[in-house]
């Protein structure tokens, strides 16, 4: 088991390194992208651009430039933005990360609870009225885009009704959990619900399909022949085996969202998270910030996948030997 974990972690490190090289090449070695010109500004003379190029080390060989970049990003942590001169990349990300993590953590708890409950209830009541009802609600939640749902929620809670029944809803923004845990939850309540609704719908539908498949397996027939109750068969046998696909799905979604994929929800609710930071840096082609954000996002995707793989080994004994 320990060997498995070590192997998985070292491969995660390797993947991180490859991603950093790839991203570096895409943004700094693609023909037509000249970082020096961007740093020097719009009306810079060729001499100034050449000066800048030399001052930032942009005239040196690519591997050296990669090393300098990584040194500034990870070790000195003083990589600065090319656009907002003076703004450091790492503190910016460190400031945005807790907001995104708060948003995604809360939402993921909600969608796991609702999605798993929905999937199990639907699978247990196949062919009855409640099954298609849950599946319809699921597809409806999946179909509604987050920015639309978020805007509607804002319209209701911040609009005309804000003075009556929704007067307890704070205006949009973020309050740190260390500052005031209650306000933190209150500010994030509707963002959580909005972000979770899509994923709850997906998870309920995926889990139902997995459970229906599992319930047709031979081992479920064996479990019935053993004289186990339907509830025990559903939870301890069918659900336990379906959990493996739910966990892998969750790892991918969670990693991607922490890495910035919750952008739309962040924009709608005015949460200055990593998604928003990535988005604005892309608009300005602010290369160091893009680099930082992508590395941050990749880190969480890789981390989530490593955790999922290790979780797999706990859930599925067949993986442990592999």
């Amino acid at each position: 088991m320990l060997a498995f974990v070590l192997r998985r972690v070292s491969s995660a490190v390797l993947v991180m390194f490859s991603i950093s090289v790839l991203v570096f090449l895409i943004f700094f070695a693609t023909p037509g992208v000249d970082p020096a010109a961007r740093i020097a500004g719009r009306s810079a003379t060729p001499q100034i651009i050449a000066q800048v190029r030399h001052a930032f080390g942009l005239d040196r060989a690519l591997p050296i430039r990669y090393g300098i970049m990584m040194d500034h990003l990870f070790f000195k942590q003083d990589l600065s933005s090319y656009v907002n001169i003076g703004a450091k990349v790492v503190p910016q990300i460190l400031q945005a990360a807790p907001i995104t993590i708060s948003l995604v953590l809360g939402a993921s708890v909600l969608w796991l609870l609702v999605g798993i409950a929905g999937g199990i209830v639907a699978a247990a009541n196949r062919g009855k009225f409640i099954d298609p009802l849950i599946m319809f609600l699921g597809i409806a939640a999946i179909s509604v885009p987050a920015y639309w749902l978020g805007e509607v929620v804002n319209l209701i809670t911040q609009g005309g009704l804000h003075h009556s029944i929704f007067s307890w809803v704070p205006s949009s923004g973020y309050v740190s959990i260390f500052q005031n845990p209650f306000e933190w939850g209150l500010h994030l309540l509707f963002p959580w619900l909005t972000l979770a609704s899509l994923y709850a719908g997906i998870y309920a539908r995926v889990l139902r399909a997995e459970l229906v498949n599992a319930l047709n397996e031979d081992y479920v027939r064996t479990a019935r022949a053993k004289g186990l109750s339907e509830r025990r068969i559903l939870i301890r046998h069918a659900f336990r085996c379906s959990l493996i696909s739910i966990v892998s799905l969750f790892g991918l979604d969670f990693g991607a969202l922490i890495g910035g994929a919750a952008l739309l929800t962040e924009v709608v609710f005015g949460l200055p998270g990593v998604g928003l930071l990535t988005y604005s840096s892309l608009q300005n082609l602010d290369l160091p910030v893009i680099m930082g954000c992508v590395m941050y996002g990749a880190f969480f995707v890789v981390l989530a996948n490593a955790v999922v793989d290790i979780g797999y080994a706990f859930l599925d004994p067949r993986v442990r030997v592999a």
């Binding site: 031979d218 027939r221 186990l228 301890r236 085996c241």
Partner: protein
């Protein structure tokens, strides 16, 4: 005559499908006495497995219609609710399935799965159940059971898994064991070992067994009585000696002819002409008539089982049967 352990009367199982009503089992009647081994033999699709699933309530399809009567120890069990069936399944009647590779839940150790059944029907503590599980594994011939009990199904070979399934089935000392083609998915040497094991355990545990198979060789080794099924109907029922030595039904003659014999000089095995009938389209009369070389006009009327101890659903009279059978055997 003492009351049989299990008595199945006129069991009918039908599936309502879009293509029409599929009569998978149509009028199956047989009984199983204490400590008796009854073999049910027939081709694929003859309704052997479906009849067993239906009497245990394991058919979950919403479009299934089950009729008839199944009495276990004199008590009608057909149509019992899930709650009542749960206390019978696994405790009084246990079942072994065809494919041991998929019959166990992959994510739990074999010990866990045996203990689960023991604890579902008894008051044993975890510790007692574990001890019993190890004992059972030893009994079904799994070496080093104290270590193997912790292992997962994927760490066992097919034959070993089937032994685990048998251990699980025996864990609550069932009065009746239904074995649904327990050796079909195994290779030939393993088949023999499993059959030998089942015979041995039947003696020690004293369970009755219903053995489902399409292999006449298996059935002639183990069964006390034989039920031959064709197209969901019983074709012939009788003691092993009677059915093997003096089969009464042309279909049984075909099955017997299809068994390879060492002493025979014949190089080709006898085949039954044609294919098994589609369960969607069973003929009005005798289901076997279209493939039968002795068919007569009367065969368009459905024959019922005739005879007392040795019954067959065939219109041929006994003199005809004797002469046709002898001709078939010497040919």
């Amino acid at each position: 005559m003492p009351e049989p352990l299990l008595s199945v009367e006129n069991l009918r199982v039908a599936f309502e499908t879009r293509a029409g009503v599929v009569r998978a089992v149509d009028g199956l009647t047989f009984s199983v006495g204490e400590k008796e081994v009854v073999g049910i033999v027939g081709e694929s699709g003859s309704g052997k497995s479906v009849s067993m699933y239906s009497l245990l309530g394991l058919l979950r399809e919403p479009n299934v219609v089950i009729e008839g009567s199944v009495k276990f120890q004199g008590r009608e069990i057909l149509g019992l609710g899930d709650d009542q069936m749960q206390s019978i399944r696994g405790k009084d009647i246990a079942m072994i399935f065809q494919d041991p590779m998929t019959a166990l839940t992959p994510v739990y150790s074999v010990g866990w799965q045996i203990e689960e059944q023991i604890r579902a029907h008894g008051t044993e503590s975890k510790h007692q159940a574990r001890a019993r599980a190890i004992e059972l594994l030893a009994e079904v011939g799994i070496p080093d059971p104290a270590r193997r009990v912790e292992q997962f199904p994927h760490e066992f070979s097919g034959g070993m898994r089937q032994r685990v399934v048998i251990a699980m089935a025996l864990s609550c000392n069932p009065k009746l064991l239904i074995a649904d083609e327990p050796t079909t998915a195994l290779d030939v040497t393993t088949q023999a070992q499993i059959l030998e094991l089942m015979g041995k355990l039947q003696e020690t545990y004293g369970s009755s067994i219903v053995l489902i198979t399409h292999d006449m060789g298996v059935i002639s080794e183990m069964a006390d009585r034989i039920v031959v099924m064709y197209a969901g109907r019983p074709a012939e029922i009788g003691s092993r000696v009677d059915v093997i030595r003096t089969p009464q039904h042309p279909y049984t003659w075909g099955l017997m002819g299809a068994v390879p014999r060492l002493e025979s000089k014949r190089s080709r095995l006898v085949t039954i002409p044609g294919n098994a009938v589609s369960p969607l389209d069973v003929p009005e009369g005798c289901a076997f008539a279209p493939r039968c070389e002795h068919r007569m006009d009367i065969c368009s009327t459905r024959p019922s089982l005739r005879g007392s101890d040795h019954q067959a659903a065939c219109w041929l009279d006994s003199a005809q049967k004797v002469s046709f059978r002898n001709r078939g055997h010497s040919a």
